[in-house]
């Protein structure tokens, strides 16, 4: 099993709620400090043995200061010397897919082939960002993924006459280092997404979910892959959850309780229920509406979150046993790990302890 260190590079200061968030009281110094802290955490994660580091795309709020994760990943290429750099997303339906293919190829070249190319649909609120109709997001997404792969593999200039994209001549430079192209991950919590990933032999990422729900998605994915004539390996499945490792279980719990005094983050979806409702009304969630909405609105106490496989917390030994439990139930080969909270030194210590005392044991899982 592999471990990835994920930071959404959130804004480490008090910020207005809601989505989109107003920038009243915004401090460039705090934003700068947030980015520097994230870079230091990524550097540490790389040093202590995380297999990957992950960045994502978030807009218009303090939850993530990486509206273009490609830019942040560009900085990471100079900091992360060994680990793979995973971009989960870009949110491809709201972007120019040719540009996405170009930026990925740049990053694959800068990292000498250490890029993981995630392609996400994004959370519902992201459709407001650049004024995209969420009802069309799945069709746009599938076409964009197809176009990006072509842009990476066609050796002669070509045009594209799509349903949602039209280009007369495409011939991207630089080209990906990994051949034929970097590993692709898509988010796959709905049956439609899992089916799309399986039919296209693309890896599956599961986030903002629970182990029992993710296990259902994995089963759908495996079944659709079987129909498409292939068998996913553990490396084809990524599961995201939060983590906090301390020197003892008691210390970990105490760190967690202290973190309650920090500014609490709300997902953009929780921050604007009216917007979420409007997006749901467009048919964005597909066939599994109630499950999907329940998924994005998850909120539990700490014990429930441990049982559901949403958080790893405790000493290195405890966390190892929590991971074994998840590995048995899910068969995921990559854990994408988000710090459970940002509280300075305890968070850095958690990254170090995970790398030194948990990561070496993952090879056997």
């Amino acid at each position: 099993m592999k471990a990835s260190f994920f930071s959404s590079v959130f804004y480490l200061a008090q910020a207005p709620g809601g989505w989109p968030a107003a920038s009243t009281g915004y401090s460039p110094q705090d934003a700068r400090r947030s980015m520097v802290t994230a870079l230091e955490q990524f550097r540490l994660a790389d040093e202590v043995g995380f297999d990957w580091v992950t960045v994502a795309e978030h807009h218009y709020g303090p939850m993530g200061l990486t509206p273009n994760p490609m830019v942040f990943a560009g900085a990471l290429t100079q900091v992360v010397k060994r680990a793979r750099i995973a971009l989960l997303g870009p949110n491809v339906p709201i972007l120019n897919p040719v540009r996405v293919a170009e930026e990925f190829a740049m990053l694959d070249t800068l990292t000498d082939g250490r890029l993981i190319a995630g392609m996400m649909r994004g959370t519902p609120n992201e459709y407001v960002t650049y004024n995209t109709n969420p009802a069309e997001s799945r069709a746009i997404f599938e076409e964009a993924v197809s176009l990006i792969r072509r842009a990476w593999t066609e050796t002669q200039p070509f045009g594209w006459e799509g349903r949602h994209f039209q280009f007369r001549s495409i011939s991207i430079w630089p080209r990906p280092v990994q051949q034929p192209y970097p590993p692709i991950f898509v988010s796959g919590s709905s049956p439609e997404s899992a089916g799309f990933a399986a039919r296209n032999r693309i890896s599956l990422g599961l986030a903002v979910t629970t182990v029992p729900q993710a296990a259902k998605s994995v089963a759908l994915y495996r079944e659709a892959a079987r129909e498409a004539g292939w068998t996913p390996r553990p490396d084809n499945i990524l599961y995201r959850l939060s983590f906090h490792v301390a020197d003892s279980d008691a210390q970990a719990r105490s760190d967690f309780e202290d973190s309650a005094r920090l500014p609490q983050r709300m997902s953009p979806i929780q921050a604007n229920p009216a917007l979420e409702k409007a997006v749901a009304a467009t048919g964005y969630y597909g066939t599994d509406l109630s499950k999907q909405r329940a998924r994005v609105l998850l909120s539990h106490g700490i014990e429930e979150r441990i049982t559901a496989g949403q958080i790893l917390i405790g000493s290195a030994e405890t966390v190892r046993s929590q991971i074994r439990d998840i590995a048995d139930k899910l068969g995921a080969g990559v854990l994408d790990l988000v710090p459970a909270f940002q509280s300075g030194e305890p968070t850095f210590r958690s990254i170090r302890l995970f790398g030194e005392k948990v990561r070496p044991h993952l090879n056997d899982l």
């Binding site: 076409e143 197809s146 176009l147 072509r150 066609e154 050796t155 002669q156 200039p157 070509f158 045009g159 594209w160 006459e161 799509g162 349903r163 994209f165 007369r168 001549s169």
Partner: protein
């Protein structure tokens, strides 16, 4: 209904009585069909709105007598040039589909001065490796090769087994090898702008072979038509007609967008 505006006519050329259908007025577009014979698709209707579309049924296809005389696509191209001449056309564009792409290219090689531009749809003229051929498989399998979404196609009776066998025998005899060195060498002479369309879901002439055309033709633009199989004109008629129409109207200038992005004045 598809092809409703088209009128059926015949022309005598090179000793053959050649059937064709025609619609529209404006700059002529001469169409050469694929190995399945003349089949009008919604794309032809759209193209005929702005130009004169002349779609031939080449000798030996459809209800025409068996063609034992033509010996190659080059030979058939000479016959079709005679038909074009007999119609009095002296400035036109050519559109060749699949098997018909090779006939169209030979026509342009033989009579380059009358050809404005060339459109190739799912062209089989150069093939890296032989894919499955719709006329060589059962009707249900053929539908899956032709259409990315067979269920969206209007219901129609499949062609008779005899007709399919007749077409298969003729195209196999005439098409020649996938890599035809003397033919490819002649392509380098063509001064015309060429547009070659490939469906992203096509297994018969897959888009992986598109580069062969850019390499062989001096002025070739490749367009991949998303979510279309071999019969692009049926799977994505509006997309085909849009890009082909723009290319026929503007040729190489079609690379530059001219439609406005203005939302409100």
């Amino acid at each position: 209904m598809t092809g409703k505006a088209f009128e059926e006519r015949f022309v005598e050329a090179d000793g053959f009585n050649i059937r064709y259908v025609e619609a529209g007025s404006g700059p002529p577009l001469v169409c050469l069909h694929g190995g399945g014979g003349l089949r009008l698709a919604p794309a032809h209707d759209i193209l005929a709105k702005n130009r004169r579309v002349v779609a031939f049924e080449m000798p030996g296809f459809g209800a025409s007598p068996e063609n034992r005389r033509s010996v190659s696509t080059e030979d058939l191209g000479r016959t079709m040039n005679a038909a074009v001449k007999a119609l009095g056309l002296n400035s036109y564009s050519l559109m060749g589909t699949s098997f018909g792409s090779k006939v169209a290219l030979w026509m342009a090689i033989e009579r380059p001065e009358t050809v404005e531009s060339i459109v190739l749809i799912s062209p089989a003229a150069i093939r890296e490796q032989q894919g499955p051929v719709p006329t060589h498989v059962a009707p249900e399998e053929a539908a899956k090769l032709l259409y990315a979404h067979p269920e969206r196609q209007p219901k129609s009776a499949p062609p008779s087994r005899e007709l399919v066998a007749k077409h298969a025998a003729l195209t196999s005899r005439l098409l020649g090898p996938g890599r035809d060195a003397p033919f490819e060498a002649r392509l380098a002479e063509l001064p015309h702008p060429v547009l070659a369309l490939f469906g992203t879901a096509d297994r018969v002439t897959p888009p992986e072979g598109a580069h062969l055309f850019s390499e062989a033709l001096p002025h070739c633009h490749i367009i991949l038509v998303y979510d279309a199989a071999h019969a692009i004109d049926a799977d994505r008629p509006e997309a085909l007609a849009s890009v082909v129409g723009d290319f026929l109207a503007r040729q190489d200038r079609f690379l530059v967008r001219e439609t406005s992005g203005l939302i409100h004045p």
